[in-house]
C-alpha cells in the first residue's frame, strides 16, 4: 500500500504543473527582473501574470494590491507592524485566543512593549461572540487580526462581517487566511478586509512564498526597506520561480474550488462518519456546520495523540495532533484549551486534512486501520478497562502530578 498523506493543513505536495512552470525561471529566465537583458526580459512578465492569477483567486480589485512575501508569517508580521507604525497613537490590538502562533507570539511581544492585546475567547465549538467584539472596537484599536479558518479544527470565523464592523468603527482589519485561500471562494473587492495573508505551500505551491493583500488606500509601512521591489512595499530581490509557481497554484486552486467543496468534502465526511461510528468515545471538535471542507479534528478520549500518530505512521498514514508531546510544549494545543476540551481528550486529538490528491480508497484504508490503533493504545491506558473507560475515570485514576 502506498503512503496516505492527510496532513495538508501542515503543508501540501507541490503540483506537477506548478513545478513545470517554475523550472525555466531557474535554468533560463534566471535574470534579475530589474535587469535589462534577455535573461530577464520574460521575468517581469511572469511576475505580472502571477500577480493576476493570485488576484483572480482572492477576487481583489487591482493586481497592485498583491505584495509577494516569503511566507504567511512574514505577511502576518508585516500587516500588524505596519498598522501600529502607521498609527502610533493607537495602542490596542484585537485578536482571538485561537490564532496561529505567527499572530499570538507577535502580540505577546508587543504586549511587553506596552500594547494592550484583546484576545477574544471562543465557545466549546470554537465560535466567537460578535457582541463582545463590537464592544472592543474603539478609536484606540490599531488593528483587528482574526484568522479566516482555524488550522486545527477548520472552523471559519465571520471575517467578512467582522471587517464591516471594524470599518464602521474606523479600525483596520487583517485576516490570516492561509488555511482558507483556495479552499473556500472569496471576493475581497466586495469586503472591507484591509489586509489578508496567504501562504503558497498550503495550496500546492512551494514553501517560502507568501502574499500580503493590501487594499488600495490602506495606510502602510513596509517591514523590509531597501529596494523598489513590490513598489517599495517589500524590498528584496523577487523569488521569481516561486512567485510564478504560486501564480500557477492559484489558477489551479480556482479551477478546483468546486471539487474541493464537493469531492474533497465528501472524503472528509466519509472518514469522519466512519470513525465516529466505529470507535466509541471520540468526538469531532470545532464548529461542525461552519468549517473548511477538507479538515476534521477528532478527539480520541483516554489516549495520547503522539502515540496514535506513531502507530498511524507505521501503517503508512500521515496526520497530525494537538497533543503537547508532538510540539515539546507544556500544554496541549491552545486551540483545544480555548474550546475547553478536557485534558484526557485534548491530548488525543488527531487532525486529518485532505487535498484534491486524496482518494476515497485512501479513506477506506484509514477506516480499516484506525479502530485497531485506538484499541491498542486504550489497552495500555489506566483510564480504560475492557471495552470502555473505567467507571468515573477521573476518580479511579488520580496520579500525583509532578
Amino acid at each position: 500500500m502506498t503512503d496516505i498523506y492527510l496532513d495538508n493543513n501542515a503543508t501540501t505536495k507541490v503540483d506537477h504543473a506548478v513545478v513545470d512552470v517554475m523550472i525555466p525561471y531557474f535554468l533560463e529566465q534566471y535574470g534579475n527582473p530589474s535587469s535589462i537583458h534577455k535573461f530577464a526580459d520574460g521575468v517581469a512578465k511572469g511576475i505580472k501574470n502571477a500577480r493576476q492569477q493570485v488576484q483572480n483567486l482572492i477576487g481583489c480589485e487591482h493586481d497592485s494590491e498583491i505584495i509577494f512575501t516569503s511566507c504567511g508569517t512574514e505577511s502576518n508580521s508585516t500587516a500588524i507592524l505596519s498598522a501600529i507604525k502607521a498609527q502610533p497613537n493607537k495602542k490596542e490590538i484585537i485578536t482571538t485566543t485561537v490564532e496561529h502562533p505567527a499572530i499570538l507570539s507577535l502580540c505577546e511581544a508587543l504586549e511587553k512593549e506596552g500594547y494592550t492585546i484583546h484576545r477574544m475567547p471562543v465557545d466549546k465549538a470554537g465560535r466567537l461572540n460578535l457582541e463582545a467584539y463590537k464592544k472592543l472596537l474603539s478609536d484606540q484599536v490599531a488593528i483587528v487580526s482574526v484568522m479566516w479558518a482555524n488550522n486545527e479544527t477548520g472552523t471559519l470565523f465571520p471575517v467578512v462581517e467582522m471587517a464591516e464592523l471594524a470599518n464602521a468603527a474606523g479600525v483596520m482589519f487583517h485576516t490570516d487566511a492561509v488555511q482558507a485561500v483556495g479552499k473556500i471562494p472569496m471576493m475581497l473587492q466586495d469586503t472591507k478586509i484591509d489586509m489578508l495573508s496567504l501562504s503558497g505551500h498550503k495550496l500546492h505551491a512551494p514553501k517560502g512564498i507568501g502574499v500580503l493583500y493590501l487594499r488600495r488606500g490602506t495606510r502602510y509601512r513596509p517591514l523590509l526597506r531597501g529596494g523598489h521591489q513590490e513598489r517599495g512595499r517589500r524590498a528584496g530581490t523577487e523569488n521569481t520561480a516561486s512567485i510564478v509557481g504560486l501564480g500557477k497554484a492559484c489558477e489551479l486552486a480556482l479551477e478546483h474550488i468546486e471539487y474541493e467543496n464537493t469531492h474533497v468534502k465528501a472524503m472528509r465526511d466519509r472518514l469522519e462518519r466512519g470513525i465516529t461510528e466505529q470507535i466509541p468515545h471520540c468526538f469531532v471538535t470545532g464548529d461542525l456546520y461552519n468549517r473548511l471542507p477538507n479538515t476534521t479534528d477528532i478527539a480520541f478520549e483516554y489516549i495520547e495523540g503522539e502515540a496514535i500518530l506513531m502507530l498511524l505512521n507505521k501503517a503508512g498514514i500521515a496526520a497530525s495532533s494537538g497533543s503537547a508531546c508532538t510540539s515539546g510544549s507544556l500544554e496541549p494545543s491552545h486551540v483545544m484549551r480555548a474550546m475547553d476540551i478536557p485534558y484526557t481528550a485534548a491530548h488525543g486529538t488527531i487532525r486529518f486534512s485532505f487535498s484534491r490528491y486524496n482518494s476515497m480508497h485512501e479513506v477506506d484504508e484509514v477506516l480499516k486501520v484506525m479502530p485497531g490503533v485506538v484499541a491498542t493504545l486504550r489497552k495500555l491506558s489506566p483510564y480504560w478497562e475492557g471495552d470502555g473507560p473505567v467507571a468515573s475515570p477521573e476518580q479511579a485514576f488520580k496520579p500525583t502530578y509532578a
Binding site: I303, A324, P382, T400
Partner: protein, 301 residues
C-alpha cells in the same frame, strides 16, 4: 517528528508487561504535568525477600512515555526493592539508548512511579520533590522552574550567572531570550530591575591571566589549571575530565564518569574550549582523546 532510538520504537510498538499485575501488592500512580502523561505501575513483591516478581504498567501518554514505562518494568523485575530504588531516570533513558531532551521527563516519570509504588508497599507517603516547568534550555534539558529557583536562591542577575549555576544557555545559546525573560520576571518580583549589562554575581574561577606567547609547558600547566577550576561543576553531575595530551594548540581530553557517553559531551567540550580561550587569550582546540588515534595514523602513514 522526534528522532527516537530503535530501542524506544521497539518498546513502543511491542510493549512489555502492559496491563495491571493481578494480585499486585504495590501501586504507584504519577503524572507529568508537562506532557499530560500519567502512569500506573503495579508490582508483585515477594514478602520475605522483597524481590519484585512481577511488574506491570498502564500509561496514558506519548511514545516515549509508553517506552519508558515498558523498559522500566523490564529493568526492575527480579530486583529487590532496595536495588530498585537505586534505578535513576538516566538508567531508564540509557536502556532506551537515549531520549530527546524534551522527553527526558518521561523517564523521570518512570522513576517517580517506581518510588511511589515502593512507598506504597512500605506504607509510606510518597511526596514529589520537584516541580517541573516548561523546557527552556534544550541542550542541557533545563526547565523554567529550575532556573527560577536558582535565580531566587543564588541572587542571579545575568544570563551568564544562570549558565554558571544551571548550565542552561551554555550550549547553542538560542534560549538566552527566554532566560532573560525569566530574569526580568523574578527580578521584578524582588523589586529589582534586570540589567543585561550587569556584572555577573558569580566570580570566575581565579586563574591568573596570561601575557604574551606561551611555551608548551606553560600552556599545559594553564590548561590543567583551567580544567581544575571547571572540575567541581562536572563532578556535581557525576562526571570528570582528564587531560591526555597537548599538541600545538590542540588539547586532547577524556570525558569520564557520567560525562562519558553523555549526549551532552560535545556541548561540554565546547564549553571547556570557550573557557580555555578566554583565560589563555589564544586559540585552543579541545578534542576528545579518541580522536588521537586518527592523528597518529596520519603521521605513521
Amino acid at each position: 517528528m522526534w528522532d527516537y532510538s530503535d530501542k524506544v520504537k521497539e518498546h513502543f510498538f511491542n510493549p512489555k508487561n502492559a496491563g495491571a499485575v493481578v494480585d499486585a501488592n504495590a501501586t504507584g500512580e504519577v503524572g507529568s504535568i508537562s506532557c499530560g502523561d500519567a502512569l500506573r505501575l503495579t508490582l508483585k513483591v515477594e514478602e520475605e525477600t522483597e524481590v519484585i516478581l512481577e511488574a506491570g504498567f498502564q500509561t496514558f501518554g506519548c511514545g516515549s512515555a509508553i517506552a519508558s514505562s515498558s523498559v522500566l518494568t523490564e529493568i526492575i523485575k527480579g530486583m529487590t526493592l532496595d536495588e530498585a530504588l537505586k534505578v535513576t531516570n538516566q538508567d531508564i533513558a540509557d536502556h532506551l539508548e537515549g531520549l530527546p531532551p524534551e522527553k527526558m521527563h518521561c523517564s523521570v516519570m518512570g522513576r517517580e512511579a517506581l518510588q511511589a509504588a515502593i512507598a506504597n508497599y512500605r506504607g509510606e507517603e510518597w511526596a514529589d520533590d520537584h516541580a517541573e516547568g516548561a523546557l527552556v534550555c534544550k541542550c542541557f534539558a533545563i526547565d523554567a522552574v529550575m532556573i527560577e529557583e536558582m535565580v531566587w536562591a543564588n541572587k542571579l542577575r545575568t544570563v551568564e550567572d544562570v549558565t554558571n549555576f544551571t548550565k542552561a544557555g551554555g550550549g547553542c545559546a538560542s534560549c538566552h531570550e527566554d532566560i532573560e525573560a525569566i530574569l526580568e520576571k523574578v527580578l521584578a518580583e524582588k523589586g529589582e530591575k534586570f540589567d543585561p549589562e550587569a556584572a555577573p554575581v558569580t566570580k570566575k574561577p581565579v586563574v591568573a591571566e596570561v601575557k604574551g606567547p606561551l611555551t608548551n609547558l606553560q600552556r599545559i600547566k594553564k590548561i590543567e589549571e583551567v580544567l581544575e577550576s571547571l572540575r567541581p561543576a562536572l563532578m556535581a553531575d557525576g562526571g570528570d575530565v582528564e587531560l591526555v595530551e597537548v599538541i600545538g594548540n590542540t588539547a586532547y581530553v577524556n570525558m569520564t564518569g557520567a560525562c562519558s557517553g553523555c549526549q551532552m559531551a560535545a556541548m561540554t567540550i565546547a564549553g571547556i574550549q570557550q573557557r580555555l580561550m578566554e583565560v589563555m587569550g589564544e586559540f585552543i582546540k579541545v578534542v576528545p582523546a579518541s580522536e588521537m588515534k586518527k592523528l597518529v595514523n596520519i603521521e605513521v602513514a
